[in-house]
Assembly symmetry: D2
Homo-oligomer: 442 residues x 4
């Protein structure tokens, strides 16, 4: 460790000297300087100075403000495409005689220099993490700067190699996990907020709770994704009781159901990188080994796009709703609609039916379900098992889905079959109950 | 483990059914079948069946004889280049409007489907190791089948990502190392053979011996490269005493010199993949931490091409040798030339001088030294320190270098500087003694 | 784990049946029942039922209230001495013919059955921890129940074997330490309170802080003792700046001094069990290895008995104080004495001198220093280096020592010599400055 | 490590100076010197010099020849009993007023100083191992020197504390176990010799083989006991096939029976120290967890005392044999008795019957079975399941038991019950088949 640190300090000084910079200028301040450094990094053959330059570029980049970063990212995207002359030559050669060898040469010539730049930046200490953070910046700017799309493609291409499934490691998170990792669990929990160390402890320590996270060696202490699990006697129909304070934990050995009630992705910069769709099954398998009496593995999941879809359908007469349904839904617009038990009962029945319809018919790009959580679990081989109206009565639960939550079921014997049905044919696998609900008339 | 194994067994059966194969046919026997399987693998989206297919392909490949393997490799190289139609379209689009986005699209279109195939094969259990072994086959066939070059390029490209320096781990190898790794040290030792467990123990257990190996998580128990070290009082001038049986080990604390006397690459299939040129320095640093009294880190290295070079120079009057030198060297042709001490003394002096000339003037491709061991150590930042004639009197030592060995010196304070001098300018960094020797007249 | 738990559940049921207890009566309620169980435990030969009985006894004991525990402890102390008949026979046999063999037999006959009871209780799951807690109870009752002294002696005898130095393990405590251990650091900190996780983090995470704890395998996650360390440029003269919030940490590499500013024993039940006097030196050595530039290892320690000693001396005219000193000390009685800088300066000078006298002359049992912190560090081989008046201005600091703190110096080259001087001759090793101070006249 | 070594070197030098020995005299040569050193060790209070002295004594002892060692051991046994004066006073005080406190004081006074000496020797580096080896010496001399019995008693008393069951750790031994431990498995195998690394590998690597060893932290790499396991389809009736070379291993998952075919104690110096009788069950449990399809756990065990017992019974007309049986057994005296199949069949039937009788009726001290292997397994809670005549046809097998071997069955549901039946009532638990055999008439 010290050696590497010393080495880099020495080399960095030297490489700065080589490119004409005074020692004291430890932080390049202008985006333009970073572009020059990137050119220098691409042109060098020496590894030592390369590592030092990579470090300087990433450190310098992180010290820039938002505009400076935009400038650097655009410069990389625009200026570091393939060598145009070389590419033209390769096209000409290939067109003249389209052999496999010339096709391969064309592929090499067409490679954007951005990819080599990113590879070299990756050699800096903690370079991978810096690049994941850099991609967060790219994603946040894509709408305003579509020119960054090429850089995003490069990053996705390389990340897909580096975050190869074979490197991912599952580790149980519990109250004996190192504190520096636990504080990240607090920070990254995206579904049901963890407010402090005491609440964290309530999620980890009772014997009817489990938590697992996936790690990658190059990101060391940074979890990629984690799942929180509650052990119960029955498939739960509401989130409130699961995360309420107090209550006596159930003896783990008495549990029959494992509920995945919160799944959080931790690294926005890795959006779209598949960690392999079998990860959640590792947790199922882990639990089954520890507690052989568990028979049922389900989620209790939000339905994030349901309210938006419903609003859209209500606004059109030619959509998924009958006019009768549209009429009944008017009651939803009263802020206090859940205060009358009779109204709640009627509306919840209707919402469940419409949610079933939503899952089975609302499609996005590539004929995949509109609902992102459904895409995740169906892609993992789960089955949409049950729809629970009135399951999340928090403000955000009512806002995004009028309180509806669902259970996805992971049945080990069916998991690959379901996965293949979804992956190959985009089939939304559901229980017969959900199917019946979707077909039901009012 | 069991879960994954079970899963794969299930999935594999199912995927065979899907592609119309009876269960019992566990091993495809014909190369042509494997090509079909490869097509199937490339066309599927489901991950479960993909992993199963990958496994079947690799297992099937390993069961083939040499001709069958050649057939499969050629089929992959020839048939799985880029999609020609799509590539032609991308060229046309780019030529019409050469934006960065279209250049990027062209790069993607030009990617050989071989690369995607290799990526998917890599997901099979122990897939990486199978692919490293497969590349051994490719390398062995390159001369006879130059069409395999494109496949080799693909493998090198992907291996370079996967064997990213950040994943390499140094571990000390000693007598408390697991036996399954130790047996590989015995097997892979390439410089000075280890005959049995007793000899292995003599290289590992005495307190003046050390051994370090580099590992990669995806190859688990397979070392990539290892170095054997002897601790001594002085820079050694001959190999014999270092590996002789018997003798009392020196107390480690009395040593001043660490001698890297054997460095073996273990995986032929990774030839040309740079593991980063700073690896050997990790060992230096490790030793320095353990034994702060060590002052000098040198190799005792063979000179594998010297005799061949000398023979060539002797055959021409316009080469590197004076006619006087050519005359004196005639004595080398007598099989018993080392039996007369006077002759030995005179010839050894001459051989040392010519070896110095060889290192400084004999160049191969890219203006790099002809000597492969010199390329390795100079690239690592070492300095050619001393030339030792009469250092290796074994049959092979006499055959490859007339008994000459050399010491490369690793000076931590100079290592990056030397590395950069070699990497950027191909400078052969030597001690002044070697320089003087090279300049000396008879 | 599960197996052992299952096994114990089964066996416990069975052993309860054997001794005539209904299954449902899981908790013996009366102290008298526990005495019966103890007799049963001593009389059995079967290990399985013995372990179950041991568990029942310890669980039952922990469920008792304070009076019930007193009753059980007294019963063990009184009733489970040696077998009197057997002892009388052994005395007679020895008196008749005092051979070594008969002396040995006498020793065995004289062993209190309490020791065998404690050994068997130790086999219960977490038995050792339960026994350490039980000794806390014994210690708390010794004054009121001197008959418990014999039980305390037995526990000390056995603990000394079990907490054999060879089993102790030093581990660094930092922000990546498991949370369940960190919460014990918060709980056991006895010198300078840690209020919450944020304060804990300030003591562990900055690069100029270190913490080390000693563990024993049979107490798993229970630290026995821990030290908190601050890295500084100079030997500190006051505690305030060391534990203040905010401030920039010093680069670890710039530090020259390591200050042990808080040392907490965690297990009252192990009072008087020596963990070997070389433990703190392991930390010194650990730090020296990590940071070779450190030259000085000191404590900043409280002087817990100084104010009490001084009050006693002030109350007598024949004690350690001159009448002039007694006069000057009257100013201490004003609650606001530290508000006048002139008075503070004068009094601090006097207090430093008297503290030096206190360390060198105030003795307790066995001619050892009265000050318990001094006994600990001198016994460890430290030297009393410097006296700092006005070093701890907290309410407790003023109450126990009028604000005086001291530095003990750990000089690796002198540590054994100092230790031996103290262990063999009770010499209080001090710097010449402290000696001069002690000799100084007003 | 280095620190401790350095420290000891310094302290050792100093302690030698203190006791008037020149530095250069590193090895005391005479037993008498060691006795003086032992006195010095007992009289010191300083821990540093104590550790150094302990090391000198143990090193010096190991350098002595057999007679020198005898002399030292006898001196310790004779001279370091309790302080006779103090013991006499304690007896007098106790006799005058036999309180618990005085009984406790008498126990302390009666403690042989040998025990304190052994405790202090244990603090030397690797002291515990040295003391285990020293007890081997004591055991080897007990017959000739009964005066050593008191020292043996002291060692057993202290070892029983130190080798407390809670510290024992089970580890699987396989082909990835460190070589320095594997070589000890080769060395300590006591039942069926392992000739070289290749044979070792055959016992560890095939998937139908397992090996487990028990370790203790103070003996580091020294196994205490290990078991070799073969996985089979049926309970085996002969040892030959199990350890024969060649043969295809059975898939672990197809096995139904785990056979403990070799159990070796490694440390003679720990003879008689119980490691707790539930150790073998940990292995059963471990196997059950890994391979849930295993249903049967048996040994294939030798019957070491059977032939001797039979010879004795044949020699008397009033013993366990009928005259008819004695007549039939005459055939055993022919060296080639196993060459006639008819004779073998008849004799094997008789031998099985007599072996059953031997197990059920032949008793040693304390009404325990004469057979030591039976005592071990019955004490562990196993049941004598089956008797196999003609099971071990090796020379030693024929010599010790006329070829008879037996299976002990470990039935997890019965294990504690069996253990208690043996421990409390010395009951020999057998299958009904064995019982019937024992009752059978010819």
């Amino acid at each position: 460790m010290t050696y590497v640190a010393d080495l880099l300090a020495t080399v960095s000084r030297r490489s700065r000297e080589l490119i004409g910079w005074p020692e004291a200028d430890t932080r390049p301040r202008k985006a333009a300087d970073l572009s020059l450094l990137a050119d220098a990094l691409l042109s060098r053959r020496g590894e030592a100075s390369g590592v030092a330059l990579a470090r300087d570029i990433l450190t310098g980049y992180e010290a820039l403000d938002a505009d400076g970063r935009t400038e650097v990212l655009l410069a990389i995207a625009d200026r570091l495409g393939p060598d145009r002359k070389r590419l033209a030559d390769a096209i000409e050669a290939y067109s003249a005689d389209p052999t496999e060898a010339r096709a391969a040469a064309l592929h090499v010539a067409a490679e954007p220099r951005r990819q080599e730049l990113v590879r070299r930046l990756n050699l800096a200490p903690r370079g991978t993490l810096s690049l994941v953070r850099l991609r967060e910046d790219v994603l946040a700017r894509l709408d305003d700067h579509p020119g960054l799309k090429v850089l995003d493609t490069d990053l996705v291409h390389l990340f897909s190699s580096w975050f190869n499934r074979g490197f991912l490691v599952v580790r149980r998170i519990d109250w004996s996990t190192p504190a520096n990792i636990l504080e990240k669990i607090i920070r990254y929990e995206a579904v049901h907020e963890i407010r402090d160390w005491d609440e964290l402890r309530r999620r980890l320590e009772p014997e009817d709770r489990r938590c697992y996270a996936f790690f990658h060696p190059q990101l060391e202490d940074e979890p990629l994704i984690f799942v929180e699990v509650a052990l119960t006697a029955e498939i739960p129909a509401a989130i409130g009781p699961l995360i309420a304070e107090g209550g006596t934990p159930m003896p783990a050995d008495d549990a029959r159901v494992a509920v995945f009630y919160s799944i959080s992705n931790c690294q926005n910069g890795l959006a779209g990188i598949s960690f392999g769709s079998f990860l959640i099954k590792q947790v199922v398998e882990e639990l089954k080994r520890e507690l052989p009496k568990l028979t049922t593995f389900v989620t209790l999941s939000p339905v994030p796009r349901f309210a938006a879809w419903l609003a859209k359908e209500r606004a059109t007469e030619t959509g998924a709703l009958t006019s009768e349904e549209r009429g009944a839904l008017a009651a939803l617009d009263k802020p206090d609609w859940r205060e009358s038990p009779a109204r709640v009962e009627k509306l919840d029945r209707l919402l469940a039916r419409l949610a079933a319809r939503y899952f089975l018919t609302a499609k996005g790009t590539g004929n995949r379900p509109l609902d992102p959580v459904a895409r995740f679990h169906l892609g993992n081989g789960a089955r949409l098992e049950r729809i629970n109206a009135g399951a999340d009565l928090s403000a955000s639960g009512l806002a995004q889905s009028h309180g509806v939550m669902v259970n996805y079921l992971y049945d080990l014997g069916r998991i690959e079959e379901n996965h293949e049905a979804y992956a190959e044919r985009r089939q939304v696998v559901t229980s017969s109950a959900v199917k019946k609900l979707a077909d039901a008339k009012a």
